[in-house]
């Protein structure tokens, strides 16, 4: 349990040689966007410093990495004390000898699945961002499945199913991404060690509940969490983990990781691991440009015309109708949990805010640059405004969940209906814009 979160310095000390080199190679990544818009060149550098959150942690101690971009020294000391390293108890001695192959550059992202594939692709030299991975795979969605129950509450999701992003990117970018599942935990264990010994960073699926480096209040039985193992400390047997949800690399005892990978139940991972097996076809980010139109249109189609009442903007309306009918008088406790559950799925579980709407808006901004279409930038700001309405909804629902304000399902349902209408209008404009 990461109760004793260590101070940042021992974690930063052993890796100055590691952190400085990838820092220089990573920081041009966000700067790749303004290639066409010169005006934003000055503004992109602080964004670069902020967008790679692991960099300030490491570079605050090792000043060597700072000169990679001039405004960074001003920006980097600020986030460092605010974001202490999660867990690095055995700092100085272990990571360097334990790492087999090249050092792995940790990247903190909003969502686990898009974060893992972004990190894996960057390790292969493709300077892609999380938002681009998310948008390119058309992963934005809304699902409300009243017939699937999680702790007696319906399934609400703001994105497509697990592994959608991985599979989409595999297909679109022709990635040699290989998935492996195992019949026995031992086989899964051996294969992971074998890949790590070859110096491959490996993507894993596991249950959050058994991953002991999570804060204990975040540990729920969600079996489709994604993380990266990039090495093993042979002295203690711990795996070196780069979990994209957190701001620093961490480690996980072998027994815990094994249990997390082989849990039973809904979305059971069956030891799933995936890795890029071979060379990726191209490390040029320009390859995404011809794919963007199709990706956006696919997402728009799914949000507008998917012929199912449970998904898309129709799903929001469906959920609104069910929220309106909540039996406040009969079961107030259940109703409070119900509205809180919607908010958890929207805000808490690694969505980057507003149920991935901000993440998709960030993608639209990048797409605007790639396609040279300022209209997409405008629509991105419009989606941001809708995202802010989602956050307003979340705050109202959370207060009702806590009992700070009286339960009022009708008001929440009205908000959902309103958001559904606005999103429909936005997606129609988006279809025309590409």
């Amino acid at each position: 349990m990461p109760a004793s979160s260590a101070n940042p310095t021992p974690a930063a000390n052993p890796t100055p040689d590691i952190s400085s080199a990838p820092d220089a190679s990573i920081s041009p990544v966000p700067a790749a966007n303004p290639a066409s818009s010169a005006s934003s060149a000055s503004s992109s550098s602080p964004a670069a410093a902020a967008s790679i959150n692991s960099a300030p942690d490491a570079s605050s101690a090792s000043i060597t990495s700072a000169p990679s971009a001039s405004p960074i020294p001003a920006a980097s000391p600020a986030p460092a004390p605010a974001s202490p390293v999660i867990l690095a108890p055995l700092g100085p001695a272990t990571p360097a000898p334990a790492m087999t192959g090249p050092a792995f550059q940790h990247l903190q992202t909003a969502h686990c699945e898009s974060g893992v594939i972004t990190s894996l692709l960057r390790a292969e030299g493709l300077p892609i961002t999380e938002a681009m991975c998310f948008g390119l795979s058309s992963a934005l969605s809304f699902c409300y499945f009243p017939f699937v129950r999680i702790n007696q509450l319906p399934l609400v999701s703001y994105r497509m199913t697990p592994r959608w992003i991985l599979n989409s990117l595999k297909r679109l970018l022709h990635l040699p991404l290989r998935f492996e599942r195992f019949k026995t935990p031992d086989a899964g264990h051996r294969r992971l060690d074998e890949l790590l010994a070859r110096g491959r960073p490996v993507g894993l699926q596991g249950s959050v509940f058994f991953l002991t480096y999570f804060p204990v209040n975040m540990r729920f039985h969600f079996n489709a969490h994604n993380l990266i193992a990039y090495g093993r400390d042979h002295a203690t047997g711990d795996y070196l983990i780069s979990d994209p949800v957190f701001n620093a690399p961490t480690r996980c005892p072998a027994a815990d990781l094994q249990r997390a990978r082989f849990v039973r139940g809904a979305l059971a991972p069956r030891g799933l691991l995936y890795h890029i097996d071979g060379k990726i076809p191209s490390t040029d980010l320009a390859q995404v440009t011809p794919l963007l139109r199709g990706a956006i249109r696919k997402n728009v189609w799914m949000m507008l015309y998917m012929p199912l009442p449970c998904v898309s903007t129709l799903g929001m309306r469906f959920l609104a109708s069910r929220v309106r009918r909540l039996p406040v008088g009969k079961a107030p406790g259940y109703c409070r949990r119900y509205v809180g559950h919607i908010v958890r799925m929207q805000e808490e579980v690694g969505t980057g805010g507003a149920g991935f709407r901000f993440l998709y808006a960030a993608f639209l901004q990048e797409a605007a640059v790639h396609l040279n279409r300022p209209a997409l930038h405008e629509l991105s700001l419009e989606l941001t405004a809708i995202g802010d309405e989602w956050r307003h909804f979340a705050l109202q629902a959370a207060r009702q969940n806590k009992g700070r304000s009286p339960l009022n399902p009708a008001a929440l349902a009205d908000l959902l209906d309103d958001i559904s209408r606005k999103e429909r209008a936005l997606y129609k404009k988006l279809w025309k814009a590409v």
Partner: protein, 133 residues
């Protein structure tokens, strides 16, 4: 969402961790900032944790009174409910519900207990018979 709408200080709930949030900077461009937990997400997480704790506490009192089996207490303590415990342990739901009654629970074999313990991540199956807080 603007950067100043996200607390950079980690909420006590997150034990020093920060997540990533996408915000629009003053230049109108998206960037990632550390998110220590906004009011909405902290509130709902606290409530979700508190619900399990409350269910476990109630189950414990009932188990002490002999009205339910200790399994129910451990189930909620490990943040499971009958449906998810059934999935995780690989039993049918009606069997799990049956095992939540004191008499059938007392007849569980060591192997069955071990299966429940494994699903809950409890090292010692015998712990399931006790009601350690």
């Amino acid at each position: 969402m603007r950067p100043d709408e996200v607390p950079s200080e980690s909420a006590p709930l997150l034990e020093g961790a920060t997540k990533a949030a996408y915000v629009v900077g003053p230049d109108g461009r998206y960037r990632i900032v550390p998110n220590g937990g906004t009011e909405a997400e902290v509130t709902v997480t606290e409530e979700a944790v508190a619900w399990f704790r409350q269910m476990a506490d109630e189950a414990r009192l009932r188990a002490l009174a002999g009205k339910t089996s200790p399994l129910e207490y451990h189930m909620y303590r490990r943040r499971l409910d009958p449906a998810s415990l059934a999935q995780a342990a690989g039993y049918w739901r009606w069997r799990v519900r049956r095992h939540l009654r004191p008499a059938p629970f007392a007849r569980l074999t060591a192997g069955q207990l071990a299966r429940y313990a494994a699903a809950m991540g409890i090292a010692d199956p015998e712990q399931l018979r006790r009601l350690d807080p």
